[in-house]
Amino acid sequence: MRPETHPAFLKLELAARGVVLDPSVRVHATSLRPTTGADAVARSLDLVLPDEVWVSAPVEERATAGSPFRLLADGERFFLARHDPDGAETVRIEVRAVPQPRFYERRTARGTPMWRVAAVHGSHLVINPAGACGFGLRGSPCRFCVEGARVTAERDAAAPVEDVLEVIRAAFDEGAAEFVYFNSGFFDADDGGIGFLAPYIEAVRRHFDTLIATQVHPPRDNRWVDRTYAMGVDALSYNLEIFDEDALKRYCMGRARYIGRERYLEALAHAAQVFPSGTVWTDLVVGLESSESTMRGIDALAAMAVVPVVSVFRTPEAAGPRAALDAPEVVPVLAHLYRAVKERRINMGWMRDLALGITPLEARHFAGDGARLAVAVQQLTRFRLGALAARSLARFRRRLRVRTVSESFDASHL
């Protein structure tokens, strides 16, 4: 496979430069899945590249000007074509364009449009019941974040648990998502927002056999990290976004001011000891700090057994990082990402189907490693039996690891 046809390379390029929709695709416009929901970054389309690599590619004209990529349709099949500056087609590969979930058109029993409750990204059903970013409320959202920039009047009220369950049922019934991914913008509580999500997580645990990922802010006390695992969260992120302290202050004022970089790192380190290997992650947005700094961040996180996920596209219009994002510059960072995680023997199989970030296993292409075993294990979890085994093992591990204090006293025979 030529380097420019590696799915991870294509993902990087597509994420950065977008894809132009050919007129042949326009006839499918209503059935394709535009990224939507409360945390939509920009109008984009989810594509599945070879090796099950998901990418969310911007499709709006202002974001795709100059893109060498064109999405074409031939009947029900879709092809991604790349053209050189002369207009000659250099690459053409078949891709899967993900259709828009049918539940987006439906409403819950309470009359709430389902698309407002949850959005599908990759194989994850992303739910943000709070519907608001706490940093945005305090006037200090991350500069590259559209959600944080929304005005207060646009914010949604907290979604009722019943609505969330109804939407998850609808999404699972039509096979639009495999996992549930909760997001909370709350931060100004001891629990870092997990207490707000707890009723939702417990309800999902009781009604569905699925894995739950959660992205919240670090709690003030590590005991909340333990409780997060105990309540049934399978994967956890405290998103640092930027490793360099100055850049963090510049681009993520809320994170730097109200929580602080060190607290993010402490909480991540503790979580990595509690959660299974490879299930604690943080995004690092490439392009907002120097490549060297991102690589230092990758090393520091991997040393704590935290999985760095390189995020390549948050809307660039606000902060202007797009100009800094140049694929040849990012390639060494991604190669380093794979090598660092591999060297620390962190499980790479859990992070998959992320349309908005490049996982360490996807980054193997940049390091020239096949990672056959890790890929094979991850492939297994895509089958029904493998997925069942993964869920069962996660539950079993939790039963072994989690103890209440009263159990400990009983065990001590005091």
């Binding site: 648990v161 019943e162 707890a198 309540m231 989690v402 204090v405």
Partner: protein, 485 residues
Amino acid sequence: MAVPQPSRAEILIDTRPLWRILAERTYRPIVLSTGLAVYLMVRTMPPPEGLSPAGQKALAIFVLCLVYWVTSVLPLTVTSLLAIMLLPTTGVISAKETYALFGNEAVFFILGAFILAAALIKCGLSSRIAIAILRRFGHTPRTLLLSLFLMNAFMSFFMSEHAVAAMTFPITLEIARVLRLPREGSNYARALFLAMAWGTQIGGIATLLGGGRAPLAIGMLRETTGQSYSFAQWTLVAWPIVAMLLVAGWQVIVRFFPIDIDSVRDADAVIAQKMLRMGRPSVREKWIGLVMLATLAAWIVGGEDFGLANIALGGVIVIFLLRLLTWPDIEQYVNWGILLMYGGAIALGSAMTRSGASGWIASVTVSRWAHSPLQVVALISAIGILLTEAMSHSAVVALLMPVALGIAQQFGIDPRVMAPAVALPAGLAFTLPVGTPGNAIAYSSGYLRLRDMLVPGFVLVALAWLAFNLTVVYYWPLIGLAIAR
């Protein structure tokens, strides 16, 4: 739809390697299944030569109880109840005989001793005695330590060593606190808590009142051979070992933990304050003390004629006649479970001997390793003293006594020798907190590390075994307890 809030119970995440947690969690079902499998295997194997069918069944029950007693996967009491249930249902002995064994004199002697000890503790007389001894003798670091050591030993002559440890622990802790002894690195603190734990252990073997081991061993001896010990005879058998161990224990403590403080004036003041707060002895204390003394005298003088259990129950009845105690008081202090445990152990031991299973075990184990009566006693005492470091004292007696009686028969050893040969070493646990509640209580103070108990404890265990065997060889023949008949 109501969604329950997450539990706010304190959560602990066990971050040890998963295989270790798994091993710990699956330990109980594995041991329970192993016990059952071994039971079925022994039941169904072709009968070994020299073992009757009833003996084979008794052996299977014994092996099952052995696994469960040693591993403590079930409470000791429940394992005993299991034995009681299996003996008649498998036809080893009839139900009538089984339950009759449960009414053994030893069980009622222990019950009486527990109730008398409860009276001592409840009225505060035991605390008064402890405080008085410390007040009288403990004015320097050395005398305070020695009086604590001897006081614990002395009190364990008259009441259960576990009760003594529980009673003197708060006093010891307070002494350590007022002397401002650091939790780490204080020799004097370590010496104090070891003196507390070891004093009760050593004193506990001196009489039949220090714990249930001796009455249990005597009960099993009586059921099997009809022979017994009086209160005074037992003390006569045990006292040289107690004397040697008191000297050895003191030496080990002060050599391993040389005294590193100059004054105990603060502790002295606290003890004086406690004494002052207690005031004069109450009428109830005086009466209970009197009843206790009378009971002791009766045990010594008339134990053989009237029976130890009868005298103990007589003392209890007098206490209630004088309204010195109420029944709810008793319920707080008496360990009813241990009574059930003893009943089951006596029934199993008797069934083992009657069916010939204990003789058969003896013929295939100790009989092959030991070639003279002296070697047998040395081996039995070594096994007992090692097992008791990690096992309940009573469980050790329950396991070893039937086998020891079988061995005695084969080697022509006086079976009476086997009761102290099993029960005395089984009371000497010095190395591990799990060996006995006294050690566990001392360890829970936080002043002792495991190493502080392990190394000096091992030295004392070796000295104890030596002292025991010297007593067996040189002293017991002098009081008419010859190994060989």
